[in-house]
Symmetry: C2
Subunit: 590 residues, 2 copies
């Protein structure tokens, strides 16, 4: 697992498994050369939601779109982040001309500090808000070379990246300022990637500005269209952000005391509106939560909203409750978040009261339901008023639902379609949508991570190669970055369920008898203090098992004794407890 | 943690912590005597959804309603089930007159095999379907005394349980046959517990049979009303079961090949309708999944539906695909469920095909979203048609939404209200609903697990005592049942994140020097084979650290050396990996 990744520590560049025996080449070792085609390889984001990265390759030039991370889950305990596998790119580092960023969310920029040097530090093209977020994050990695960031405008004229490839950014509605889609202009036509996108609308009718905006595609020659599939499962249009802000405005207007608005820090545009709302109602604003503070710093820096009414939390008590708005993270029930601390009375400055109104302006991210339940249980222990999306329309997603996706398809005169940004089943549903809207099935490819797609014959053919780019998970764990080790993860899962049982025995190498009663160390197995009888029986079994093999054996075969005691102890513990701890025998000869 | 729970093994009755020093009495050690009041104690189910159990106590008599389990989650790795804490009952075992069961779901009957002997094997009053499920489960616990099950009818006349307490069952609409609410008739009035309940309705208008049925309460003297709060968050009425069955019927009618219906085995009434549907469309039925098979056995036994068209799975190929219906568990993405095996091509008899239609007739249970995503990813790898509740109305809950709860409140002329069956926030929302409907706030109590509520002064007062019944989690883990050990759980979580690092050193007690280079055993930490340099540095640190304390020390203080090496090694590993494995030093003097 360990190419030791160094932050301020000694830099290593261990070539792993360099001593490993030669093995049969896997398909990705024999990827054919490119020829005249355009190659498209999604390295992440198409078997999951997260770690987005798409490679566009033509001739000797590679453009990379986005470099995101995915957060870990119970499937990979101990892992911090999961990255796209970039081996294909590392092997072609000299061809990489640009990393193009669609917007500043972590599932699009989070990998940059872990991969940028391995990609040869290419220039990063991004709009300003994304640039600031990238730079802010980079501060935590002081050993890295400075980034070559090139700030661009949306709807600019095209930017030439190579002799044959240009990029053009176009603004999209999402949830963070400066969200864009990108057009990669190739000799055979455009490759359009929407990035994350929704359509502002009123009851399912797109806003006039959206309609006008997408007219720019009417006359373009779109060879390949790639699009966000996150909310394909939800029929219709999502609620408009305008509508939910109006609802929250009404709640703020009616709140008798403090108003506490909890949302994702990534909902930057909504946070900007909250800050405006506070000014309108003459409330001072307190910003809580590290990521929220980071983003508000950038909002301030860019002068996106008047912020003179933001006050430090220490000053809360200088104003009456009905003059206070707290904007905080923690609506997902994160363990040490500001809102969780308010809810369980461990927050340094905020004690919840009956007159408080708390709005959870978010929905539950799959997997967070239990944490959110806990948060709500804690919040409801106070007598504050609590409003969630179930009771009132106080949240909408930054990703368009099926109706919005359908509308977008209709704005794009494309030839080929590749759904991205979603689990396999979402992509498959998105492919079905495209087919239903008239795209010939042979013009649609649902990729996996590492799938190599090619547009061949000057645009006449769209195929998926038999070969794949390396796509095993790459993980960040502590200071290391590298392949995931199945062995280690399997051990962790076993340890989490049944713990570990270490047996220590000193054997007299001359006689084969134990020098003294064996020692036992167990963790995560059973509560030892209450299991003395079990331990004492186990000691007897250990002694009998080891001596049964070692007494009279000369010289003593310790491996043989270890296997015997592991088997006997495991069987005994399972019979007595129905648990299977990892049994580790330490047998020392003296 | 270990009162060893014995199944076929030696029976133990260890009094844990018998040697522990005297500690200050906790409130629950000094619970006042009962006097003339009626005591109500929810021992489970009011800080969670699951492990329902409510105690009703009057004079020298105790009635227990339900004995459920809760399933474990990532908060308690390695634990199998969580039980209600029954210490209050164990201490008053001689007063227990009856265990009354509302219906046969595991969150209402699952604890029986673990607690029934500790409760002194009281008679169990239940309707027939519940009785069969209880008996089926009991077969797995052959060492237990036979159960004293007394099968009752709903809407019977009251059954006298003691001189002062009678019980009467009333049928309710839920999702399993023989679901009931119970009325405990006391000298001061009725205690009504709805059990799990929904209201069959058409577009929010209750079915006429529901209206007629609940008229029975019009003239009763309901002292205390206890009611299911599961779906209080959802406004309005839930979809009617009739409606969703009609939808599924349409899907079955149109399916060109096999139809695969996946739902919870607990949705027994729906399964019965599926079997009828198959007959109507001349399809043979295959039942897949252990719990589904168990429940269908009971359906057969009770003759609840014609089952002659159920065939063994081996016979599938004898019929054309459009004559087959498979009813299966696994809609929640359970790892080894039949549907998951079909989806990942490991099912022995079923290979999915393009002409198959798969209906997931369920919604996602919070916490299962990722498993369901995986299932859907696997299913969509085939070209079968897949229909979920997001796209079509193919599922409705067995628990009423807020509108249904509101309607039920209006049918019940009650004095006091105690919401049950839900997390704290759900109960609090339910209390708000009752208050809004006119119940005076002082007549409503939101309990915690172990809260002791009393109806005093012959019904004139409803209070919560300061004292609590013991309410710490009791857990089933392998063969043991007992308190949860925070130490063990904490270790398991640490092991899951960072693993374990065992250091073994032999010290020459005469010189204080190590006899040889120390051994290291690590599990779940890093992949050792790729970390040789780290290990070799660690060995150096171990040697220096131990010898730094032991050389020249006489006699050697091993604890001192262990502390030193633990600290030094932990610090080194954290600096090098940012991981904090549990470090265990084994230092042996020879």
């Amino acid at each position: 697992m360990l190419n030791t990744f160094t932050s301020g520590l000694r830099h290593k560049n261990i070539h792993r498994r360099s001593n490993a025996p030669m093995v049969a080449k896997k398909p990705h070792d024999i990827i054919p050369t490119l020829g005249e085609s355009i190659r498209i390889i999604p390295l992440g984001g198409v078997e999951e939601i997260g770690r987005n990265m798409t490679v566009i390759e033509y001739g000797e030039d590679i453009i990379v779109i986005d470099a995101g991370i995915k957060f870990t889950d119970y499937e990979t305990p101990g892992v911090d982040y999961i990255l796209p596998n970039i081996k294909y790119l590392e092997e072609r580092k000299d061809h990489i001309r640009a990393l193009v960023i669609t917007h500043g969310h972590l599932d699009h920029i989070g990998s940059i500090p872990y991969v940028i040097d391995r990609l040869g530090n290419p220039p990063i093209y991004t709009r300003e808000f994304g640039a600031l977020l990238i730079q802010k994050r980079q501060v935590e990695f002081p050993h890295l070379a400075p980034l070559d960031i090139r700030i661009v405008e949306a709807n600019d004229t095209s930017i030439p990246l190579t002799a044959n490839l240009k990029v053009r950014f176009f603004g999209v509605t999402h949830s963070i300022p400066d969200s864009t889609g990108v057009i990669i202009e190739t000799p055979y036509g455009d490759i359009v990637n929407t990035g994350d996108v929704r359509i502002e609308n009123e009851n399912g009718v797109p806003d006039q500005r959206e309609i006008e905006h997408y007219k720019m595609f009417k006359d373009r020659n779109i060879l390949l269209f790639c699009m966000d599939s996150t909310n394909i499962e939800q029929p219709g249009f999502s609620l408009s952000e305008t509508f939910i802000l109006k609802n929250i405005d009404g709640i703020v207007a009616a709140a008798p005391g403090r108003i506490i608005l909890a949302t994702f820090a990534t909902q930057v545009e909504r946070v900007i509106e909250f800050i405006k709302m506070a000014q309108h109602y003459s409330r001072k604003v307190i910003i809580e939560g590290r990521s929220m503070k980071t983003n508000v710093e950038i909002i301030k820096h860019l002068n996106l909203v008047e912020t003179s009414h933001i006050i430090p939390i220490e000053d809360t008590t200088k104003y009456p409750p009905n003059k206070i708005m707290i904007i905080t993270t923690g609506a997902q029930g994160e363990e040490f978040s500001a809102l969780m601390r308010m809810s369980n009375k461990t927050h340094k400055f905020v004690r919840l009261e009956r007159s408080d109104t708390i709005v959870l302006s978010s929905s539950a991210i799959p997997g967070n339901e239990r944490a959110i339940s806990k948060l709500k249980d804690n919040l409801y222990r106070h007598d504050s008023k609590i409003i969630t999306y179930l009771d009132s329309d106080v949240h909408t997603s930054g990703h368009g639902r099926r109706g919005e996706l359908e509308w977008l398809h209709k704005q794009m005169p494309y030839k080929y379609f590749m759904p991205v940004h979603g689990n396999h089943y979402r992509l498959k549903m998105h492919a079905e949508l495209a087919a239903r809207l008239g795209c010939p099935r042979e013009n649609i490819i649902v990729p996996d991570n590492g799938s190599i797609l090619e547009i061949q014959d000057k645009g006449a053919k769209f195929v998926k190669l038999r070969e794949k780019a390396p796509s095993e998970d790459m993980v960040v764990e502590g200071l290391s970055i590298g392949d995931i080790s199945d062995v280690v993860i399997r051990d962790r899962k076993m340890l989490a369920e049944d713990g570990i049982f270490v047996v220590i025995a000193l054997v007299n190498t001359r006689t084969g008898y134990l020098k003294k009663s064996p020692d036992i160390i167990a963790r995560g197995f059973v509560y030892l203090r209450e299991s003395q009888e079990l331990l004492s029986e186990a000691r007897g079994i250990i002694k009998r098992s080891i001596e049964g093999t070692t007494v009279g054996m000369n010289p003593i075969n310790f491996d043989y004794a270890k296997n015997a005691v592991t088997e006997d102890v495991s069987r005994f513990l399972f019979q007595r407890t129905a648990k299977k701890p990892i049994v580790i025998p330490v047998i020392l000869g003296v």
